[in-house]
């Protein structure tokens, strides 16, 4: 039976995890009374689902429909005048939703706030571009990488990938090496589909050595003159030294059917 490979998350995974391994959590602190962050929490009021301080950043969990309102409050009443970063995290495999975050900066107080919300798959988020112009590019990047639609964005279009690209690369379902479309993209675009056979598939294996290629790599034990034609003969290992080189002659070794 073929080994089952999950399709919803094709990223690299740890091949071994100790049975008794308990993952600790980064300590979360409560918001102290009277601090700057306490005022922020107070200003947002009932829209807040959860708030805590994680590594000197105040994290505010909100509902996705309140994002514009909350960030407007943060900007106008709490002095968070810069949106440093905005993006998403893919949790589609586990919870069928994205986690969106906005990283805001208060220049006067030198404090940072992260607004976090969970957005279900297929839903759109309200653009904060009217508040922060920096969200213009950031939201386009989020759309490009995750396919999350943004309402009322002035120019929602792919930004990093080409306009005719298929798929959203940062989704967990998208493999690192790209899909079929990605692997032939430049050939299809420049030469046309009919040239796929001539150019050949991409080599994704960095350790691959081509036995017919006598120009670029030499194979230890099977050296031939530079540029010699490959005649399809079976490989004959040349024994240079019995001690220094491994004997590549397959006849001399025995392959076991089963592991002992």
């Amino acid at each position: 039976m073929r080994k089952y490979v999950p399709k919803d998350n094709v990223q690299a995974k740890a091949y071994y995890t100790d049975r008794f391994h308990v993952v600790p959590r980064v300590p979360r602190e409560k918001v102290e009374e009277g601090s700057h962050f306490a005022e922020v929490v107070k200003a947002i009021g009932t829209d807040l689902k959860e708030s805590y301080i994680e590594i000197s950043t105040l994290v505010l969990h909100i509902n996705p429909e309140d994002n514009f309102k909350v960030i407007k409050t943060l900007k106008e009443r709490c002095g968070y005048t810069q949106c440093s970063e905005q993006s998403a995290v893919d949790y589609l495999a586990k919870e069928n939703e994205f986690e969106l975050f906005w990283q805001l900066l208060n220049v006067k107080e030198a404090k940072r706030v992260r607004v976090v919300c969970r957005l279900e798959k297929g839903l759109a988020i309200e653009s904060i571009e009217p508040l922060f112009k920096s969200a213009n590019f950031a939201e386009r990047e989020m759309f490009d990488m995750f396919g999350i639609k943004v309402n009322n964005h002035p120019f929602l279009k792919r930004i990093l990938m080409p306009d005719d690209w298929e798929g959203h690369p940062l989704l967990k379902t998208y493999p690192l090496f790209g899909d079929e479309f990605a692997s032939w993209y430049e050939v299809d675009k420049i030469f046309g589909k009919e040239y796929r056979d001539i150019i050949g598939p991409e080599n994704r294996d960095p350790a691959k050595i081509d036995i017919e290629d006598t120009k670029r790599f030499s194979r230890v034990g099977y050296e031939v003159p530079f540029g010699a034609e490959y005649n399809g003969e079976e490989e004959q290992g040349i024994e240079y030294s019995e001690t220094a080189l491994v004997n590549y002659n397959k006849k001399a070794s025995k392959t076991l059917d089963e592991r002992r």
Binding site: P175, L176, E186, Y195, N203, E212
Partner: protein, 181 residues
């Protein structure tokens, strides 16, 4: 050391040198290789460094040109992304014959460390390459050496470009297929 008297008067007032057309043309071509400033990524900084004060590319007759129409060599310095591939091919097509390509750095050679969906796995998939230059990023000395190797290669070529067999765009299995140039 034997000394010979050269009679310039009898030789129409000119020193005479005899050579073949191939050698004369290749002498001219190889000693004034003008590369296209085609900086793509990190290697472009080393390409700039080799054009700047310490490494001084100008002494080899190498002057960077901004237009593909005036350039002989395309130095592909850096990662070629799939979005950019079309433009690389377009610039190559815009260059006038004879033209040569140096692929600078691991990314341009094979995709290098960026074994991802967005990078072209070796520029030789779209452009025939003359010199592959290893390193991440190659030092300016390496680029200078590559240029000297290219000069050496040009000196061996025929002046008639049609006679030269350019490296074909071969498949991964190494079988020679149709020429795409």
């Amino acid at each position: 050391m034997a000394q010979h008297q050269v009679n310039y008067a009898s030789a129409a007032g000119l020193p005479i040198a005899l050579t073949s057309v191939d050698k004369l043309v290749n002498w001219g071509r190889s000693n004034s290789l003008w590369p296209l400033t085609y900086g793509l990524a990190c290697c472009a900084i080393e390409m700039m460094a080799s054009g700047a004060s310490r490494y001084d590319f100008d002494r080899m007759g190498t002057i960077f040109r901004a237009s593909p129409r005036q350039a002989d060599v395309m130095i592909l310095a850096g990662t070629l992304s799939k979005k950019h591939a079309e433009f690389a091919r377009r610039l190559y097509d815009q260059m006038t014959e004879p033209k040569w390509v140096i692929s600078m750095g691991s990314c341009a050679n094979t995709g290098g460390m960026f074994n991802t969906y967005a990078t072209v796995q070796g520029v030789d998939r779209i452009i025939p390459v003359d010199i592959y230059l290893p390193g991440c990023a190659p030092r300016p000395e390496t680029l200078q050496y590559a240029l000297m190797m290219l000069q050496k290669k040009i000196r061996k070529e025929s002046a008639d470009m049609k006679k030269n067999t350019k490296q074909d765009l071969t498949t991964q299995t190494g079988k020679k297929r149709a020429r795409l140039i």
